[in-house]
Symmetry: C3
Subunit: 149 residues, 3 copies
Amino acid sequence: MKTAATSLTVRPEERYAFLDLTDDLRRAIKDAGVTDGMAVVFCAHTTCALLINEWEDGALQDFRRHLTELVPHEGVYYRHDDFELRTQNMHPDERKNGHAHVKSMFLSATSHAIPVTAGEPVLGTWQRLIFFEMDEPKDRTVTFHVIGS
Amino acid sequence: MKTAATSLTVRPEERYAFLDLTDDLRRAIKDAGVTDGMAVVFCAHTTCALLINEWEDGALQDFRRHLTELVPHEGVYYRHDDFELRTQNMHPDERKNGHAHVKSMFLSATSHAIPVTAGEPVLGTWQRLIFFEMDEPKDRTVTFHVIGS
Amino acid sequence: MKTAATSLTVRPEERYAFLDLTDDLRRAIKDAGVTDGMAVVFCAHTTCALLINEWEDGALQDFRRHLTELVPHEGVYYRHDDFELRTQNMHPDERKNGHAHVKSMFLSATSHAIPVTAGEPVLGTWQRLIFFEMDEPKDRTVTFHVIGS
């Protein structure tokens, strides 16, 4: 039995960008030398999500449209963005990203656990591991942890 | 320490069917011979979900109604289903299931990690592991991976 | 390689209370003596959720407001709460909490898997592990399972 973790820095190009991390997941499993076990993928941020779904541009657009209609990033009051009232966690380059925190908590997609057999993640035909940015673009860290034999 | 994976094929009878997989989870843990560790359950599809909640028909109906009102499967345009425009991942028996992809990404319930103690999953009194189909019925694969001592 | 599980009883003070469990997670990892591996946190209830996000009162209020608007706990019919019709899982102190089951299934946040390196969870700067109660307050159990070397 062994355990190995690697981190990856990704840089989405814009708000609401999707990035395909499936090959990075496969590589982390290979590099860990685990053939049977599991992989955990974890996103260390509060305004992003990790999705497991089909990479088809239309489906991703449909998802983004529904999510932004449900939790709009403009025209709605967010207490998190009310800098007159807010006192906690304020820092110099604070962004108005209350919408992205709400989206992120709705999705609750910070981590996934994926079984590994024969050195591969047991993803289905159409499943891809997809990073989804909901805030303005900046460097983001994703960690892969692999455990098994 | 050991690690073991088993796969199960399930066949929902209709769109929006629920299937109780709790006994299958318990059996996978027994078969793995793990008394202390964890179990991961993973659904290898992009239009299904795995829920952990109470199996009470009314609660499941309430959930289904809220979800289908939030993301209707008819009367709404899905770019994924616009076969005049779409070019990616088209295959002969392509279904109009854009709604199910959006639902699936909203739920983000492709996997769960469940601690195992004394050879049993630490599920609460009312918790059941429930497979939820959002597309037309067909065979589906669910993988249980158990790791521990 | 070792594996260790501990359970914690928490007592939210009111419906929609948030509780910060980050220090409990760190303690469970220390107590397990695992420096490299992963931690699973699991909530054994059907009307609660575990969130990983920023603890900023405004952001948590924004999230709660959006969620309760999406799935109101009053003024909407829930089949789960129709005790004239319902036959399953009825017990003497049954509560009208259909709304909380729907919210819980929407969030699908019963467990999280978090990599551990150098004896610490790989949480980002703003990430906290947050218990979220959606039903009337009562004792709740949260389990931490840690595995690794």
